[in-house]
C-alpha cells in the first residue's frame, strides 16, 4: 500500500536536475557568437555573453567585453535571449478545466503543472525558456496563471494573472451562466466586494488575462478593464486590431496567436494594426496540442503581413516578459537578468534557423556540446 | 395500356395544340368595361376601355367598341384591366413533383396534376391565368409538362397545351454528385443512341423483336405509326432509322427522341452557375439547344455571359434579390439579378416564389423598385413567359385575336394596395373576390359562417363555425346536448 502511494507520489514529486555535462555544473562562463541579438532590433556582430552564477554579467560587442576570466564557448551562429511564450498549457496533461463550476477564482494552474513533463523539453527545442501556463478559457473565472522556466523545475510565479473569459466558450447551454449578461454580472459582483484573489486584482497587484474571441467580446473585455482600471492582457482576440484605439486606451496588452501558414490575412493585419497603435504585443501557443514552434512561426507570419522586425522580436522576448510579469528577470540580455539564452544556427527571426543549444539560468538545458 | 395513343401524342408533339376551354360556349360573348385598360408591356393604356371577348378570344378592344346586344357585360368603371399573368414554370399543383427514376421523359404531369389543389385556387387570387406545370428540380430527366389554365375540375378542362416540354436538371439530384449527374444525363442520351442503333441493326438482320414487343404491349402500329422517318437530329443521327416504323420505337424512348429531333421544348434546371455549363453542353451535344429554356436559381446570374452567348431564354426561380455573403468578412451584398441579366441581354421570365403571396405581380413590382422599367418588368411576367411557352400569339397581352384572359385590379396593378377583383379566362369569369371565402378569411381572420376556408399550409385551418351569434350559456348547453347525442351515435355532422 505504501509503495503504491509512494509510486504515485513519485511521479508527481520528481524534480530532476540535469547535471550531465561540463557546462551544466558551471554557472559562470562566456559564449562568443558570430551574431548577438540584443534588446530591440540591435544585432552585434562578434558578440560575447558573460554569465556569472546564472545571471547575465555582460552582453555585447566582444571587443568591449574586457577581461572575461571564464571559459569561452565559441558559437558559429547567433545568440539571443530565450523566447517567452505568454500562453501555453504545457505540463498540465490536459487538466486545465473545472467542468462543473464556472467560477473558480482561487484555483491555481500552478497546482497542476508537472515541471518535469516532457512538454517542456519540446518547448526548449523551440527556443522557449519562459512560459505562462494558463487554465482553460472555457470558464468565466478559471483561476490564476503561473509562469515557469522550461528547465530547472522552477516557478517564476505561482500567481501571475487571474484568467477571465469573455468569450462564448465560457457560456454553456445547460450550466450557469448561459449568457454574456450573467457572466459579466458575476465579474462585476466580484469586484464590487472583492476578497481573496479578487482583492489583489482590485488593488492593482494582480493583472488579469482576458480571453475574448469576437469583436463584441473584445469590446466588452476592454470596457470592463477600463471601468475597473485593470492591468493585464487580452488573449487571442483575433480582430482586436480593428478596435486598436479602444485597446490602446485601456492599457491592455494583447497575447496573439498562435498563427500558422493558413491563418487568415485579417487576423495578421489585426496584429499589425495593434502594433501601429502602440499596443504591447506578445504571442501565445496552444502547446502541447499544437507545436511550440508556433511561437516563432506566429511572429514570422505577422512579419509577412507587415509587422516590423523590432516589434516582432520584442513580442517574443522583452514585451512578452513584461506581460508575463517577469520583465525585470527575463527577456533581455542585460546585466542582472537571468542567463536564459539560445544558440541558433541563424537569425531566430529567420524560420530556416534552428536551435543549437538552450541555457536556462546559466545551465545548459538543451542541445549538444560543440 | 397507356392513356395516350401514339397518334394523339405525335399530333400533340408535332402541333402543340392549343385547346380552348371546353366551357366557353360556342356563342359566348363577354364585354368588359374598365376604368382603364392596360393592354400589355410598352403598349398604350386605354382610358374607359372596352374589351370584347367572343368564343374565348378578344374580338375587339378600344375606347369605343360597340358592345353586341347579347353580350354579358362586366361594368367596372373603377377597376383596371390587365392581361393575365403567365407562369413560365411551376412544379406546384401536383401530387408529388419529383420522380425517382433517372430518365423518366415518358411520364407526364397530366397524371399528377390535382385540379382542386390549393395552388390553382390561389393562382387566380393573384391573377395568374396561364401556368406551365413541369416536374420538380430534383431529377435527371423528368417527364413532360403541360400548360394549364387554373380553371376547371378535370384535367381536360384545364388543359391549354397538352405537352409543353421535357424537364431536365443539371443540378445533382438528391444522392448524386455533379459527376454522377452529368454521367446520368450523358448516359440517357447515349442509351437512346445505342437503342436506336440496335433497332436498325435488328431490322437489317431480319429480327422482328421490336415489332413483336410493340404488338405485345398493345401499341398502335397503324397509320402514321406504320411509317418510318429518317432521324432529324441536328447534333447526331442514327442512320437507317427510316427503316423502323415509328410505332415500334419503345414509348419510353420516344420523348427523348423527339427532344433530340428538336420537336420538344426542354426546361433545364440550373441551381448553381457551374450547372449552366453542363446544361448547355448537354443541350448542344444532343441538338435541342434551340428549344431549351433554362430554369435558373438567382446565383446563376454569374453565368449570364455564357447564357447570353448560347442565346437561350431563362426562367428565374426564387427572389429577385440575391444576397452574397463574403466568406471572410461576413459582409452582405445585395444583387438585383434581373438587372444583371438585362445588362447581358439575357431574355428572362420571373416566377412566383414558393410562398404564394410573393406572386408574379410582386416580383414585377420589386423589379420596378430596383430600377427596371415598368415595361420590362411587366413583360417578364406576361409576354416573355408567353413566348417562352410558344404561346406568344395566344396570351400575355390584351390584343385582338389573343385569348380573353383579363384581370380586373382594384387599383394600379403593381401597387401593394391593389387586389385582383375579378379574373376572366377565355371569356369566362373564373374568379370574383367578393365571393372569395379564403380572402375574407385572410383579411378578417374568421371564416364567414358555414364556410370552410382552405389553407395553404399543411395544418389547414378547419374553421367550423357552429351556432354563430348564439348566447354563450345556451351554446354551452347545446354543446353538452350534442356531446350526449354523439355518444349515442347521433347528432349534427360536423
Amino acid at each position: 500500500m505504501l509503495t503504491w502511494i509512494l509510486g504515485l507520489g513519485g511521479v508527481v514529486a520528481a524534480v530532476p536536475v540535469q547535471a550531465s555535462d561540463d557546462h551544466g555544473a558551471q554557472a559562470s562562463f562566456a559564449v562568443r557568437a558570430q551574431h548577438l541579438r540584443l534588446f530591440g532590433n540591435e544585432v552585434v556582430h562578434d558578440g560575447v555573453l558573460v554569465v556569472e552564477n546564472g545571471k547575465v554579467r555582460y552582453a555585447g560587442d566582444a571587443k568591449r567585453a574586457g577581461e572575461i576570466g571564464h571559459d569561452v564557448i565559441e558559437h558559429d551562429g547567433w545568440l539571443s535571449a530565450g523566447l517567452v511564450a505568454c500562453r501555453s498549457y504545457s505540463g498540465t496533461r490536459g487538466d486545465t478545466l473545472e467542468g462543473k463550476r464556472p467560477l473558480t477564482a482561487e484555483a491555481r494552474i500552478a497546482d497542476v503543472v508537472a515541471l518535469d513533463h516532457v512538454d517542456f523539453e519540446r518547448a526548449l527545442a523551440a527556443g522557449i525558456t519562459t512560459m505562462v501556463i494558463a487554465p482553460s478559457a472555457a470558464n468565466v473565472v478559471s483561476g490564476a496563471t503561473a509562469v515557469v522556466k522550461t528547465h530547472g523545475a522552477s516557478f517564476v510565479s505561482r500567481e501571475a494573472h487571474l484568467a477571465l473569459s469573455f468569450s462564448d466558450s465560457a457560456l454553456r447551454f445547460n450550466r450557469y451562466p448561459t449568457s454574456y449578461m450573467a457572466a459579466l454580472g458575476e465579474l462585476e459582483n466580484a469586484l464590487a466586494r472583492p476578497s481573496g484573489v479578487w482583492k489583489r486584482v482590485a488593488d492593482g497587484k494582480l493583472p488579469v488575462l482576458l480571453d475574448a474571441g469576437s469583436r463584441d467580446e473584445i469590446q466588452r473585455a476592454v470596457r470592463f478593464a477600463k471601468d475597473h482600471k485593470l492591468q493585464g492582457a487580452l488573449s487571442r482576440a483575433p480582430w482586436a486590431g480593428e478596435l486598436a484605439d479602444d485597446v490602446k486606451q485601456s492599457g491592455l496588452a494583447v497575447i496573439a496567436g498562435p498563427f500558422d501558414v493558413g491563418t487568415a490575412e485579417r487576423s495578421l493585419a489585426s496584429v499589425v494594426a495593434l502594433a501601429k497603435a502602440g499596443v504591447p504585443l506578445a504571442f501565445g501557443v496552444d502547446a502541447p496540442w499544437n507545436s511550440e514552434e508556433g511561437l516563432r512561426l506566429s511572429a514570422a507570419m505577422c512579419m509577412r503581413a507587415g509587422l516590423d522586425g523590432r516589434t516582432a522580436w520584442e513580442s517574443l522576448t522583452s514585451t512578452a516578459a513584461a506581460v508575463a510579469g517577469a520583465g525585470t528577470r527575463v527577456g533581455k540580455l542585460v546585466s542582472g537578468y537571468d542567463a536564459d539564452f539560445v544558440l541558433w544556427s541563424g537569425d531566430p527571426l529567420d524560420l530556416t534557423s534552428r536551435v543549437v543549444a538552450v541555457y536556462v539560468d546559466g545551465q545548459r538545458a538543451f542541445g549538444g556540446a560543440e | 395500356m397507356n392513356v395516350f395513343t401514339a397518334s394523339t401524342r405525335a399530333a400533340a408533339i408535332a402541333i402543340g395544340a392549343l385547346l380552348l376551354s371546353a366551357n366557353a360556349a360556342a356563342d359566348g360573348k363577354l364585354a368588359i368595361k374598365a376604368g382603364k385598360v392596360v393592354q400589355g408591356p410598352g403598349m398604350p393604356e386605354i382610358d374607359k376601355g372596352v374589351i370584347l371577348i367572343e368564343n374565348g378570344r378578344i374580338a375587339a378592344i378600344g375606347a369605343d367598341v360597340k358592345v353586341p346586344w347579347d353580350a354579358t357585360v362586366i361594368d367596372a368603371p373603377k377597376l383596371v384591366a390587365f392581361p393575365g399573368f403567365v407562369e413560365a414554370h411551376s412544379a406546384r399543383g401536383m401530387d408529388r413533383p419529383n420522380e425517382n427514376i433517372d430518365p423518366a421523359a415518358f411520364l407526364s404531369v397530366r397524371d399528377s396534376i390535382d385540379p382542386v389543389n390549393f395552388y390553382f385556387e390561389d393562382s387566380l387570387r393573384w391573377g395568374i391565368t396561364t401556368i406551365n406545370i413541369q416536374q420538380g428540380n430534383n431529377c435527371v430527366i423528368a417527364g413532360q409538362g403541360m400548360v394549364v389554365r387554373p380553371m376547371g375540375i378535370t384535367i381536360d378542362e384545364m388543359t391549354v397545351k397538352t405537352v409543353s416540354g421535357v424537364k431536365l436538371s443539371a443540378t445533382p439530384k438528391a444522392g448524386m454528385s455533379a459527376a454522377t449527374q452529368a454521367q446520368a444525363l450523358r448516359k440517357a442520351f447515349g442509351d437512346l443512341q445505342r437503342y436506336l442503333e440496335q433497332l436498325v441493326q435488328e431490322k437489317k438482320d431480319g429480327n422482328d423483336r421490336a415489332r413483336r414487343e410493340a404488338l405485345f404491349q398493345g401499341r398502335d402500329l397503324e397509320g402514321e405509326n406504320a411509317k418510318g422517318r429518317a432521324m432529324e437530329g441536328s447534333a447526331w443521327k442514327v442512320a437507317g432509322l427510316e427503316l423502323i416504323p415509328r410505332g415500334e420505337i419503345d414509348e419510353k424512348q420516344v420523348p427523348l427522341l423527339a427532344l433530340v429531333e428538336g420537336k420538344l421544348p426542354a426546361f433545364f434546371y440550373c441551381g448553381r452557375p457551374m450547372d449552366v455549363h453542363r446544361a448547355l453542353e448537354v443541350a448542344r451535344d444532343n441538338g435541342f439547344l434551340a428549344r431549351t429554356t433554362l430554369v435558373i436559381s438567382p446565383a446563376c446570374y454569374k453565368a449570364a455571359d455564357v447564357i447570353a452567348e448560347a442565346g437561350v431564354p431563362v426562367v428565374l426561380e426564387g427572389p429577385v434579390v440575391f444576397t452574397e455573403t463574403d466568406p471572410l468578412t461576413g459582409a452582405e451584398t445585395e444583387i438585383f439579378v434581373p438587372g444583371e441579366l438585362k445588362k447581358k441581354n439575357v431574355r428572362f421570365a420571373l416566377s412566383s416564389a414558393n410562398t404564394t403571396t410573393e406572386s408574379l405581380w410582386f416580383q414585377a413590382a420589386q423589379c420596378v423598385g430596383r430600377g427596371m422599367t415598368k415595361t420590362d418588368a411587366v413583360a417578364s411576367v406576361t409576354t416573355i413567359p408567353a413566348e417562352i411557352l410558344g404561346l406568344g400569339k395566344q396570351v400575355g397581352s390584351l390584343e385582338v385575336g389573343k385569348a380573353g384572359n383579363v384581370l380586373l385590379f382594384s387599383g394600379e396593378p403593381l401597387s401593394v394596395t391593389s387586389w385582383v377583383e375579378k379574373v376572366v379566362i377565355e371569356g369566362k369569369e373564373a374568379y370574383d373576390r367578393s365571393k372569395d371565402v379564403r380572402v375574407k378569411h385572410l383579411m378578417a381572420g374568421k371564416a364567414p359562417a358555414n364556410t370552410q376556408a382552405m389553407g395553404g399550409s399543411a395544418s389547414a385551418e378547419k374553421k367550423v363555425v357552429c351556432c354563430e351569434g348564439e348566447d354563450p350559456a345556451e351554446h354551452a348547453k347545446h354543446l353538452e346536448a350534442e356531446a350526449k347525442k354523439k355518444d349515442k351515435g347521433e347528432g349534427e355532422d360536423k
Partner: protein, 402 residues
C-alpha cells in the same frame, strides 16, 4: 416615379471620403412625409450636425429623391446573440440587461440600416419567462455609446409556449436545470404572477429582495413599460388579465405593451379597455405564423380604427420582401390608410418606448434619421435608396447604377 432609380446597393465605399463623416445635409423630395401632420409636396429637409434643423417647402437639396420619411423604428428587431443572450439558468431574470450581450458588429445591423430601419429595440429572447431589460439603439453609428438611444427601455418577457419549450418534468435523475417548472402555459403564467407578488411583498419585507426585484417594482410603479410577447389569443388574454389583476389587487399599475400580437384581431376590446399598445409581427403569406397563431391582414387597420397605438415589426428578416420597410404596405393592403401605416413604423413605436423626443418624425430638433425612397414609400415598386442616421449617410442615393 422611378426617376430616382439610380440605385445600386452601393456601400459607402463608393461615396467620397469627406461625405462619410459629414452630418449636415439638405434633402429635397417631391414628397416629404413627416409623420407629424400633413405631407409636404415639394419639400426640403435641412440637417445640421446630426439634427433636423428645418422641414419646409423647397427644392434643390444636395440629396434628392421622390419621397422622404423619418427613419423607421423597429421595436422587435431580433438581432441578438441567440442562446448567449438569454440567461436560462433561471426563468425570471429581470435584472439581466440585453445590452451586455449585444453584438454591435452583427452584419444584421447593416442590413437593417440599408433597408431603412434607423432605430431598433433589442429584447431578450422569449426562452425565459421574464427575460430582462431591453435597450433602444441606432442601427449605425461610431460606437456603442453613440448608438445607445435609451438603456433600460422596457422589461421584456413572454407568455406562450416558448419559455417552457426546453423545460421538462423531473424524470429519472435530472442532469441539467431544464428539469423544472414551467413546462406548460399554466406554469409560465404562475411564474409571472409569482414574480410580481414577490416583488410587491419585498416592498414591505426587505429581506425578500432578490436580483430582479427592483426592476419588477419599477414596472409596478409604471416607471417603464412591461412588454410581453403573446402571439395567440389566449396568451394576449393572459397578458391583459395579468395587468388587470395586478391593478385590482393594488400591487401597481404596469404599462403593458404586447409584442407579436398576431391574434389581437380576435378580442380587440380587451386591448382597448386597457389601452394596451401592440407591436405586430411581420405579415405572413397565408396568415399562419408564430406559435400557430393566425395573423389576419386587416389587424393593423382594425386596431388603429379602435384607437389603439399600433406598431409593426420586421424581426430582422433576411428576405427583402419581409423587411420592415414593406410591412406598412401589407398593412395598407389590409385596409390601413397611408398616414396611419406610416405612423406604425415611425412615431408610434417611438412613443411606445419613450424615445419620441429624439426619433420617429421629421421635426426640428429631432435626430436626423431619414429614409429616402425612389417612389411612394412602402410600395414594392419603390426602393430605399438613401438612409441617414444621426445625419450620417449610411446609404448614398447619388450612387449611379454599376
Amino acid at each position: 416615379m422611378s426617376v430616382y432609380f439610380g440605385l445600386a446597393i452601393a456601400l459607402l465605399a463608393g461615396a467620397p471620403q469627406e461625405d462619410k463623416d459629414r452630418t449636415s445635409w439638405t434633402i429635397s423630395a417631391e414628397w416629404v412625409y413627416t409623420a407629424a401632420g400633413d405631407a409636404i409636396e415639394g419639400g426640403l429637409v435641412t440637417v445640421s450636425d446630426g439634427k433636423i434643423r428645418s422641414v419646409s417647402s423647397g427644392d434643390g437639396g444636395q440629396l434628392q429623391c421622390f419621397a422622404v420619411t423619418p427613419g423607421l423604428v423597429d421595436l422587435s428587431v431580433r438581432i441578438d446573440r441567440g442562446w448567449n443572450a438569454v440567461e436560462q439558468s433561471r426563468e425570471v431574470t429581470p435584472e439581466m440587461r440585453v445590452v451586455q450581450a449585444l453584438d454591435w458588429f452583427d452584419e444584421g445591423w447593416m442590413r437593417e440600416a440599408r433597408s431603412g430601419v434607423t432605430t431598433a429595440m433589442v429584447n431578450v429572447s422569449d426562452r425565459n419567462v421574464v427575460g430582462g431589460m431591453s435597450v433602444v439603439v441606432k442601427t449605425a453609428g461610431a460606437s456603442p455609446q453613440a448608438r445607445t438611444v435609451k438603456a433600460d427601455s422596457v422589461l421584456y418577457g413572454a407568455i406562450g409556449s416558448a419559455p417552457s419549450s426546453s423545460n421538462h418534468p423531473a424524470y429519472g435523475r435530472p442532469d441539467d436545470f431544464y428539469s423544472r417548472r414551467p413546462t406548460t402555459r399554466m406554469g409560465v403564467e404562475w411564474e409571472w404572477r409569482k414574480a410580481f407578488y414577490d416583488a410587491a411583498l419585498a416592498q414591505r419585507d426587505k429581506s425578500k429582495q432578490v436580483a430582479g426585484t427592483t426592476e419588477l417594482q419599477k414596472v409596478l410603479a409604471g416607471e417603464f413599460p412591461l412588454m410581453i410577447q403573446a402571439w395567440t389569443t389566449q396568451d394576449i388574454r393572459t397578458a391583459v388579465f395579468l395587468k388587470e389583476e395586478l391593478e385590482r389587487e393594488g400591487l401597481g399599475a404596469p404599462r403593458l405593451i404586447v409584442d407579436a400580437a398576431a391574434e389581437a384581431w380576435r378580442e380587440p376590446d380587451l386591448l382597448v379597455r386597457t389601452k394596451t399598445p401592440v407591436v405586430l409581427p411581420p405579415f405572413a403569406p397565408q396568415g399562419r405564423t408564430g406559435e400557430g397563431s393566425f395573423f389576419a391582414l386587416e389587424t393593423a387597420a382594425q386596431l388603429d380604427a379602435k384607437g389603439l397605438l399600433v406598431a409593426l415589426s420586421g424581426h430582422g428578416a433576411r428576405q427583402v420582401s419581409q423587411r420592415l420597410a414593406y410591412q406598412p404596405g401589407y398593412a395598407m393592403r389590409g385596409g390601413m390608410t397611408f398616414d396611419a401605416a406610416l405612423k406604425t413604423v415611425t412615431i408610434n413605436p417611438a412613443r411606445m418606448v419613450g424615445v419620441d423626443r429624439r426619433v420617429g418624425s421629421l421635426e426640428s430638433g429631432k435626430d436626423a434619421d431619414l429614409v429616402l425612397w425612389s417612389g411612394k414609400p412602402f410600395e414594392l415598386s419603390s426602393a430605399v435608396i438613401g438612409v441617414l442616421v444621426d445625419g450620417r449617410l449610411i446609404l448614398d442615393p447619388r450612387q449611379a447604377n454599376k
